[in-house]
């Protein structure tokens, strides 16, 4: 039974001062009663726009420019706001991306429930007991009833998200659109909310369209998954089928970028390049420029979304294949998914584990004092932490937000001073450096930032950004610095360098920007590199690309790296040694394979358990690698030895 039917839907943005962009292009799909459908796509692919169009919430300059949306047999594409109003929330409700801002800041949570109920008296009942009804729902999402009296700013991010979810269910809707409902939350909190969501969906029986860029989560949650690229749906298959075998090369790349860190061999694929500019016409397949298996016809013929296996796909290669599954399943994963970065069971062959440490952190403690109305409270961000960094080795510091890992990054780079303990770089006490001496230290210790969009000044060219450390730390003149900058760009894989030197950051893709950020950090030829979540803001399809670059640098230059992350998979891929940080304390440490494979500490186990594992029933965190049949088949070489 079809609940929602979208046919040939197109959405166009017509900004006043730039070209029109076809963000959603002739999209067709259905959602059945009680079905859980995932919509997977990377930033800018149009998935959120599609969601807003389905909810009929588009605002200028975006508008529906073609196609129909039918809900429960009723065409809602052109209904006016007054006709839509009774349908809203009772039939279609939603949880927005970043619910941080989707609650009204100046009224209480109770009031936001009350006005929703009051707006739909026919469903909610004329004299509904708001406290009872809302309280019941809050309990469903594991919140205390007392939250009703709170204002949104008094709630944590996770609590707000739960409130938003409870609010979405208050009128027992038949369809809920979830737009990145847990993005930005800590993995453990995410896990908790998603588990609760799936339970509720099963027991209450509403249909879900789940929009996310988080592949593991979508695969695990959804019955059926649609993959969106550049405004089009490129693949649509039952989740289990998709895990077993992807039809579209883009999906192959996306799924290839996910792996279970506990596996003996972890292969992670990446798809270099960036999505096309949608303000221009493209005659051929939109994925063609990034496609590792494209043929000549792909450049000129735009593929249709056609039935394939038990789903649909938009690829010429799938089209011409007699069995509807193209030649893709026959090819090895390496052929299909451009490039692969892998880590196997052997230790990385870089610096020796017992080499002379270059940076030693000893018994470091950092407390912050926050002023309150009555006195002040102190929080201990980092508590008695010790570790050493050695040339040619990567030490990963794994923890959630608030675990103190970023504080450690600031301490190691001299941005902040520890309350107790010492940080020594060779013979220098980093914790005692001031001004000029600190500037001198930064010739040796550099930082790679998390967000490549904030780490580069949007008004300064690449050449300028790279020349500053060269001129300040190495005393080069303008011409020398420019030559050296070009060399650095080549080192980080931006080649030919001349093409990039005079570009502004806005003209580069996220991956290219992050490469520039890394090049800048390399400029003074540092011996210590602190990388603070360097891939977390990047699209999944290019993350492994940056990891491979970092690995290469450590290998070639003998840099000692502190790799800070919340993500055990990337730690598994890059690090020689892992330290798990919880509330400022290192709770577990050791060689990467040992910590991830044989986690002892309950917190580490929780982090591991929170990792989504598509195509598998979730099992409690356990030691040793898991045995995902469908997964290894499609994702990596057969494991050779434990």
């Amino acid at each position: 039974m079809t609940l929602l039917q979208v046919e040939d839907l197109s959405v166009t943005y017509r900004p006043r001062d730039s070209a029109a962009v076809r963000a959603v292009n002739k999209v067709s799909f259905t959602v059945g009663h009680g079905e859980f459908v995932g919509l997977l796509g990377e930033s800018g692919c149009g998935k959120s726009t599609l969601g807003h169009a389905v909810l009929r919430l588009l605002e200028k300059p975006a508008s529906i420019t073609g196609g129909t949306i039918t809900f429960d047999g009723r065409d809602v594409t052109r209904l006016g706001e007054d006709e839509l109003r009774p349908m809203r929330w009772t039939n279609l409700s939603t949880v927005f991306q970043s619910s941080m801002n989707s609650l009204n800041p100046v009224i209480t949570v109770r009031e936001q429930f009350a006005d929703t109920l009051a707006a739909h008296p026919d469903i909610a009942g004329e004299r509904v007991d708001v406290d009872e009804r809302a309280g019941e729902l809050l309990e469903l999402v594991s919140l205390d009833r007392g939250v009703l009296r709170r204002y949104p700013h008094e709630l944590s991010g996770g609590m707000k998200q739960r409130v938003a979810l409870a609010l979405a269910l208050v009128l027992r809707p038949r369809f809920v659109l979830l737009d990145e409902p847990t993005t930005g939350l800590d993995v453990v909190v995410q896990r908790d909310i998603l588990d609760r969501l799936r339970e509720l969906q099963r027991s209450l029986g509403f249909a879900v369209l789940f929009i996310s860029h988080d592949l593991g989560t979508v695969m695990e949650m959804a019955d059926r998954v649609m993959v969106m690229y550049a405004g089009e749906i490129v693949e649509d298959q039952p989740a289990a089928d998709m895990v077993a075998g992807q039809l579209h090369p883009y999906s192959v790349g996306l799924l290839g970028s996910y792996a279970d860190p506990r596996d003996a061999v972890v292969d992670v694929a990446f798809t270099p390049g960036r999505p096309p500019d949608l303000s221009r016409e493209h005659p051929g397949c939109l994925f063609e420029p990034r496609c590792p298996v494209s043929v000549d016809a792909c450049r000129t013929k735009h593929p249709e979304l056609l039935p394939a296996r038990r789903g649909r796909a938009r690829c010429l290669l799938v089209e011409v294949a007699p069995d509807g599954s193209a030649r893709t399943p026959n090819a090895s994963p390496r052929d299909r998914s451009g490039t692969v970065f892998s880590a196997d069971a052997a230790a990385r062959n870089r610096g020796p584990a017992d080499g002379e440490p270059i940076l030693v952190v000893e018994g470091v403690t950092k407390t912050y004092r926050t002023q309150r109305a009555l006195g002040s409270t102190t929080t201990t961000a980092v508590d008695d932490v010790s570790f050493a960094l050695r040339p040619g080795r990567v030490s990963a510091l794994v923890g959630e937000s608030g675990s103190g890992k970023s504080t450690l990054a600031r301490l190691v780079t001299g941005v902040e001073k520890p309350g107790r303990g010492s940080i020594r770089f060779k013979d220098t006490r980093v914790d005692r450096l001031r001004r000029r001496a600190l500037r001198g230290y930064r010739r040796h210790a550099q930082l790679v930032f998390q967000d490549p969009f904030s780490a580069l000044n949007p008004t300064r060219t690449v050449a300028y950004a790279l020349s500053r450390p060269l001129r300040n730390h190495l005393g080069m003149d303008g011409a020398q610095a420019r030559r050296r900058a070009a060399e650095l760009l080549e080192v980080v894989g931006l080649s030919p360098a001349a093409q990039f030197l005079d570009k502004l950051p806005g003209q580069l893709s996220g991956g290219q920007r992050q490469r520039v950020v890394i090049a800048r950090a390399l400029a003074p030829e540092p011996e210590v590199l602190v990388a603070d979540e360097p891939i977390s803001m990047l699209d999944v399809s290019i993350r492994a690309e940056i990891l491979e670059l970092l690995d290469q640098l450590v290998r070639d230059r003998g840099i000692a790296m502190l790799y800070i992350t919340h993500d055990l998979l990337s730690a598994r891929l890059l690090a020689d040694e892992v330290m798990v940080l919880n509330k400022g304390v290192i709770v577990e440490r050791g060689p990467t394979l040992k910590v991830i494979g044989e986690a002892q500490d309950p917190y580490t186990r929780r982090l591991l358990a929170a990792i989504p594992r598509p195509g598998q029933e979730r099992a409690p965190a356990m030691a040793g690698r898991s045995d995902g049949a469908g997964q290894t088949q499609s994702l990596g070489r057969p494991p050779h030895g434990d």
Binding site: R88, S93, F96, V106, A119, R372
Partner: protein, 331 residues
């Protein structure tokens, strides 16, 4: 609580700064205004009360004593309410003269500004509610155009048209020759007649800032996720506009109101001057042209303190209106 403590602290600090500024301004000038004034005062009148002379000295900088000592005496004089004698209205004390002018200004400014704020905010909210419609452009462009007109010039035109040409209202002054200030009907109707044109010149341009500010704020809040979610929830348009738009958008306008009071009072000086209205603004000009320094200083001090108090009240109101400020440290 912290918010209120901080704002009270700021109020006291600015109060002190205003008092000190008032002490410093005459002393920053070359020459000795106090000496000059004293000589003029003594030459003009036969019997000057020595106590009052001393008060003037304290206010304006006595030639004797160092700056710190003078400052201390100045503060003491203020604390005792000795603001000196008006030179223009001798032998009346400055406070007497000001207390006579104050009600005129308070009523004129109070009524017109509250009216402007309410009307402006409402119009701005309405424009945002009907954004991108003809109503919106009419309100926005209309007020933008009116806002470019110098409002003292509007005052002149009002006199030209309604007082001189049409003769509907008196040209200026606070009340006519026939009535005397007092609690009589005649006086009130007369005072009202006289206040129509000054009030009008303040009211034509008064709401404009609030209209544009409110509209822009509210267009922004209506574009936020919570307003979009309110639409998705199927709330009635009015509820969205009021609770998810106006209720949040009005907050910056409240602080804006406090900050604007200073310049509003400046505007009154112009209006009172044009209409010869017997308020504090005209008094200030009179004091300036007569070099009546005690009166001028005290007027400046009083206006500043008045603005500071109004500011403080607006801050408190803001604290009560915005739960984010009110409960910041309750969690």
């Amino acid at each position: 609580m912290k918010f209120f403590v901080r704002r009270t602290g700021f109020f006291l600090a600015t109060l002190w700064a205003a008092v000190t500024l008032n002490f410093l301004i005459p002393r920053l000038e070359p020459g000795d205004p106090a000496e000059a004034l004293l000589s003029r005062l003594t030459s003009r009148t036969e019997a000057v009360d020595p106590a009052q002379l001393a008060a003037v000295r304290k206010l304006l900088g006595a030639p004797d004593g160092n700056l710190l000592q003078q400052y201390w005496e100045y503060l003491a004089a203020l604390a005792n309410g000795h603001f000196g004698v008006s030179y223009t209205y001798y032998p009346y004390s400055v406070t007497d003269v000001i207390s006579e002018a104050m009600p005129w200004t308070l009523v004129l400014v109070g009524v017109t500004q509250i009216f402007s704020f309410v009307v402006g905010t409402a119009l701005g909210a309405w424009a945002a509610y009907r954004r991108n419609t003809r109503t919106d452009s009419l309100i926005t462009l209309g007020s933008t155009f009116l806002g470019t007109l110098p409002f003292f010039w509007i005052g002149l035109l009002l006199i030209f048209v309604f007082a001189i040409t049409l003769n509907w209202f008196p040209e200026g002054g606070g009340y006519g020759g026939g009535s005397q200030p007092g609690w009589t009907w005649l006086f009130f109707s007369d005072a009202f007649q006289h206040s129509v044109l000054p009030a009008l010149s303040l009211l034509i341009t008064g709401p404009i800032g609030w209209i544009l500010g409110m509209r822009n704020n509210m267009v922004q809040t209506l574009g936020e996720d919570y307003a979009r979610l309110a639409r998705a929830k199927g709330l009635p348009r009015r509820r969205i506009a009021l609770t998810y738009g106006a209720r949040i958008a009005i907050l910056p306008n409240v602080t804006g109101f406090a900050i604007a009071l200073g310049s509003i009072l400046g505007g009154t000086v112009l209006v009172e001057s044009i209409f010869n209205y017997p308020g504090m603004g005209r008094l200030l000009l009179e004091a300036v042209s007569n070099k009546d320094f005690p009166l001028m200083q005290t007027l400046f001090l009083f206006t500043t303190i008045g603005v500071l108090i109004a500011n403080f009240l607006a801050d408190m109101a803001y604290g009560l209106l915005d739960p984010r400020v009110r409960r910041k440290d309750a969690t």
